[in-house]
């Protein structure tokens, strides 16, 4: 279980650009839940993910995993239990290394990175199997550099790499936003398949309201550092895209737009 308790986050404290994003913000994700998070720009979605992953420090409050405070746990140590896919397809892979090398790197997560050979040939078939599940024909391009692949292909490999080893949480940070609609659809279906197959606890930030409604077991909407909508179970299934769009418009009108 992941919990944010009484989080406050102030950007640029003590300066004219001081911005208080979170003030006593709390959020809980139970094991096995798949939460879609929507909200306008600046509502704190990505900041929330960064706080969970330890990419930015909190000004107050606690980040807890299974009841244990991980506030002082460094970012790279948190990633031992977290897999993350970024908006930028280039962020999750090494462009100058081949698909095989990238897969080997990801496959070794949690183990020692010592002086043994980077590629374990006996694992090649396993990688091919995993890559063929993407249905993009990448299993025949093991020696191609990642940088030579298209954004969609790279994002698919990123997703595979982030979930190749056992993880407790999968963080999806607008991971379809930089892709064309058709590729985004493929990646979203893949994500759903992987999350269900591996029974992952996932948090997905997205601007695509349809994805938020269609996928996941829980829907959360954020605005100015607060959760203004939180539906799960049966309630979530009844939510329609139009309903969320209505709320979105209301918020915007309140802001005077």
């Amino acid at each position: 279980m992941l919990e944010l308790r009484g989080i406050s986050k102030i950007y640029n404290p003590g300066t004219v650009t001081e911005l208080c994003l979170f003030d006593d913000f709390s959020f809980k994700v139970a094991d096995g839940e798949c939460v879609s998070v929507v909200g306008s720009n600046g509502s704190g979605k990505t900041s929330m993910l960064n706080i969970i992953c330890g990419s930015i420090p909190v000004s107050g409050g606690e980040v807890l995993i299974d009841g244990k405070n991980i506030n002082s746990l460094r970012e790279y140590k948190r990633y031992r239990m977290i897999g993350r896919v970024y908006q930028n397809p280039a962020a999750g892979t090494c462009p100058d290394m081949t698909i095989l090398e990238n897969m080997s790197l990801a496959d070794n997560k949690g183990k020692r990175y010592g002086l043994s050979f980077g590629v374990n040939n006996s694992r090649k078939n396993y990688y091919k199997e995993q890559l063929s599940s993407l249905g993009l024909g990448l299993e025949d391009k093991l020696d191609a550099k990642l940088g030579a692949l298209s954004g969609g292909q790279r994002q698919a490999v990123s997703l595979l790499m982030a979930t190749l080893t056992p993880i407790d949480f999968l963080i999806l940070d607008e991971h379809t936003a930089a892709l064309d609609p058709r590729t985004a659809e493929i990646i979203m279906e893949l994500t759903d398949k992987i999350v269900k197959e591996k029974k992952l606890t996932a948090i997905m930030v997205t601007h695509n309201l349809r994805y938020a409604v269609e996928y996941g077991t829980r829907l959360v909407m954020m605005d100015k550092g607060n959760i203004i909508l939180d539906k799960s179970g049966k309630e979530k299934q009844d939510v329609k895209v139009e309903d969320i769009l209505d709320i979105f418009n209301k918020i915007s009108i309140e802001c005077g737009n």
Binding site: C94, G114, V119
Partner: protein, 316 residues
Amino acid sequence: MLFFATTIDGLQMGLCFAVLALGVYISYSILDFPDLSVDGTFPLGGVVCTILMLRLGIPALPAILLSFFAGLAAGAVTGVLHVKFGISKLLSGIIVMTALLSVTLALTKLLTKTGLTTTIFSFRSENLEGLFSGGASRLLGDSNRDYMILIIELIFVIAVKLIIDLFLKTKLGYMVRATGNNEMLVVSLGRDSGTYKILGIALANGFVAMSGALYSNLYSQYDNSSGSGKVVMALASVIIGIAVFSKIKFMGNTTAVILGAVIYSLCLNYLVLVDTNGIYLKLLNAVLFAIILIFNEKTSGFITGRQKARRGQAKC
């Protein structure tokens, strides 16, 4: 005849600097770290090797290999300054380079005490030839010693190249490559990218120091100012090598870097033929480097321009 001798000289120098270039290839190309401490670690390797050979009587080859660790330590300092204390890449290099100027002077002083040298800035000693004066160097007869030196150097350089190639294929090597390529990925894999950065820079400077040690063996002299301009020389070698040779299929980057170092040294040696007084040598050196960089930019721009044109045609 002079041209021929210059060529042999250039080849000898080039192979010696190939080790330097291979080190800088690790820091500059793989880690994307323009490391200025190279100017300090090069003479450091030279002086450490000299002390080991002349004061402690250690044979040349182990002395050269041991000097690797001196560079390793100095490189680690650069890495720690940058990673742990957040000092910028260039400044951490400059700090270590400056500090090493004193360190090498202090170390050279150890040699003056024994009467091996009268100044603390440089000295010559036939005993320093070590690696290139033994029985092996006379295998082809005294008159062919120059060729034998080339062969010994070549074996040495190939060994270094193979070790680096092998290292870059290990899991640890993958992480060093990933750190230079996409630091975020290393963090995502649950590892501290800073550690790999420090390791990479330390290794790079280890090879640089080894090149300095080789240099003092090659010319049987040590010079405190031998480090100046080595960053430029190494970068030029790496850039030429990769720009010219990496397009050839089946040629690895490390081989390309070695060839780059040899070509650059040959060019420098031919410049000496033109500028016999050596006054404009550094200037010519810089101009040569600038030409290479401009040429490199031009060709890559040209290629993309052509690709654009091709794409345009495809659309029509």
